[in-house]
Subunit: 410 residues, 2 copies
């Protein structure tokens, strides 16, 4: 335990750790674990889709997908997404283009929030959500997690107290980066809670809804249904995409909500576009056939990436547990491992890694305004590098954590 | 000549025309000439692209198009578009998703125009442009055409007189719906004119830049170069798409401008999306290989649609010229024939056509706020219906023009 060492012992340890780190640095690695990117083997699982027979290019309803029209997407693509989004009505969903982030951005843009608007942001969270909110001048209020679930009491309190609190943005399943899945009670309470703002919205980015890493997948109630049942039918906007199912560079995405909300979105969207890429929708529909097809496909993803998650967790356990140099989750799904080291070490770890050729997500990125108040959280994205590179990168990571931890105690 | 008839003669004529119209109406047609949609044969020209060999899915630069990244698009897609947009620098262009309309919308949204902003709108023009401007609360000032060219003197006068006039939005080649191409002098003067607003922008929707219908295609100078040469390098934003080259429901689009403008767009765009569909870009690049490939492909389009334009012009000539019941253009490119009838007849013609089963673009759609001050312009879109249907539709159209003209004189 570093914390139990004397100053002399720590200094000696630091010299030893610097030597170990220096040897790794000398290898001149060039590895990237900065983003949650699928690896080449994962992408290959869907190559077949790129050449799939599109028949007469018509949707089930007889619409020629090659032509203009169908701004809300073809029915068979809607049917693929509906269970993923917890949407039970074809009029309550729109299929978009390549990026659900754009749908989130556009939905927030359309809300035209006034100055002084605040959003609740579970932390650690997804940096790109925070960037969107900052872009629109929305003040972000961090909300913690509590026992591997959203701190719903904090959310209820904050939403009830201030009419400027207009929304919450979150990843409710296998959260980015902690891998937490909100409990059924949390979802129900979010849907039912009293809010000071009459137009409080839940931006529900269900990015990892089918991205399981166990035989007993997490489940989560439909927030759309819960909102409806609680008498707040227009409260939730739900998003998902196939970016991490088929292709991050050529998937399709969806937004679901109440029919009233979706009708309003359609109306404004019709100013913006005549329609999204329907050939991509047709390709996805023909490739998966039905939501079960997606589930089966995700098993193949799991087979590729589970060993990577295991490797990272094993190395952290072996290298860092004996000296209690941090905590991390063993995720049940999603794309990340969230590492919490000693306070005031995260930036230093990222710096040390970078100097040794391993690029991590910036420290602080998982918090609003890029500021981790304790400077201890680092998001590890294990999916992209091949196993051998991942091992090298994690050696650098662990050596950096050890060195930064020793430094922080001196 | 209807205008030379006595009231009695006109009444007798009207009875005869009502009978003729009634006989056509009795056929119970159901035809749509409302939008400039490619026909099935045109779409079929690109079917091969949907199955094209994508090799190892990598761009020329070695980037895996299946994955995240490359927010400004792959180089080979840029190279396809650059001559179409008059852009000479890879850093001055971004390849977008399916819809150039979305790029136009987003570019105007990013400008965050203050209340009271005005735009110049050449009329007749593209209804979807007007809808975007109206959506953002931008006041539209109609500018006429003059001798088959933009009335550049009117534009110069209006832009110089009022600092709230912040832009012009136009289709400079084969304009929608008149098919006019701006002269080189007009382009140069637009680029060089003194504007009261320091941030005056030209939104240059070059939608029909390769959509020629003659052996001697119109040419137009690069507005980007002209702006640069005139010392107004950041004035123009240029847009184009493959919606009417490959697939209206699955093309790619582009925006080009000065490097400074494009850098600013990239920065804001990075909040919105991680990147557009790069597999679509790769498909287009492999299908066309180079801009000449696009030119050859457009010859095939011409072979399909030129007979339709000819048919419409011939029927108008035969049916309406003897009595001078209107004027129209014989377009050298683009997607439309612009018909101008007697004043105060356009709405009635569209109504008569609709009642006889032929859907046209709404009268007035080609003007800001949907209001044609003289109620005489109708946009005819000949590409979508098969020849036989087009002939039936034009019979109804001509009969409706005759009847509405006679009615208007009574």
């Amino acid at each position: 335990m570093y914390t139990e060492l004397s100053k002399e012992e720590l200094n000696a340890l630091k010299i030893k750790l610097e030597k170990e780190y220096g040897e790794l640095k000398a290898k001149g690695l060039k590895l990237d674990m900065s983003r949650g990117k699928p690896c080449s083997e994962q992408l290959g699982l869907s190559n077949e889709m790129l050449y799939i027979d599109l028949g007469d290019f018509k949707s089930e309803s007889g619409f020629d997908c090659r032509n203009y029209g169908m701004p809300d997407g073809i029915t068979e693509a809607k049917k693929l997404f509906m269970p993923l989004l917890g949407c039970e009505c074809e009029d309550g969903i729109i299929i978009g283009g390549n990026a659900s982030l754009q749908l989130i951005y556009d939905t927030i843009a359309r809300a035209k929030y006034a100055e002084g608007t605040k959003f609740l942001c579970p932390v650690p969270g997804y940096d790109r959500h925070f960037t969107i909110l900052e872009h629109f001048g929305i003040e972000m209020i961090s909300v913690p997690f509590c026992e591997a679930d959203l701190d719903i009491e904090a959310v209820e309190r904050l939403a009830a107290a201030d009419e400027n609190v207009k929304g919450i943005i979150c990843v409710p399943m296998y959260s980015n980066p902690d891998g937490f899945t909100y409990s059924a009670e949390t979802v129900r309470r979010l849907a039912a809670m009293k809010t000071a703002a009459a137009d409080f919205s839940i931006y529900w980015d269900n990015a990892y809804c089918v991205h399981h890493l166990t035989d007993t997948p997490d489940v989560i109630p439909s927030v759309i249904n819960e909102c409806k049942n609680a008498g707040n039918p227009d409260r939730a906007f739900v998003f998902a995409s196939t970016s991490k199912i088929t292709f991050a560079g050529g998937g399709i995405c969806a937004i679901a909500s109440s029919i009233a909300n979706i009708n309003a979105v359609k109306k404004e969207m019709s100013v913006q576009t005549i329609g999204f890429d329907k050939l991509g929708q047709l390709r996805h529909a023909k490739f998966f056939k039905d939501p079960d097809g997606i589930a089966r496909h995700m098993e193949k993803h799991r087979a590729v990436i589970e060993p990577k998650f295991n490797l990272v967790c094993e190395m952290l356990e072996r290298e860092l547990s004996p000296d209690k140099l941090g905590q991390w989750n063993k995720p049940r799904g999603g794309y990340f491992i969230s590492f919490n080291g000693f306070n005031n070490t995260a930036k230093r770890v990222v710096e040390l890694c970078r100097e040794a050729g391993v690029v991590l997500t910036n420290a602080g990125a998982t918090f609003p305004y890029g500021k981790d108040p304790e400077d201890r959280n680092i998001r590890i994205a294990p999916t992209f590098p091949p196993m051998s590179e991942l091992e090298s990168a994690m050696q650098v990571f662990c050596a950096s954590v050890k060195l930064a931890s020793a430094e922080s105690l001196l």
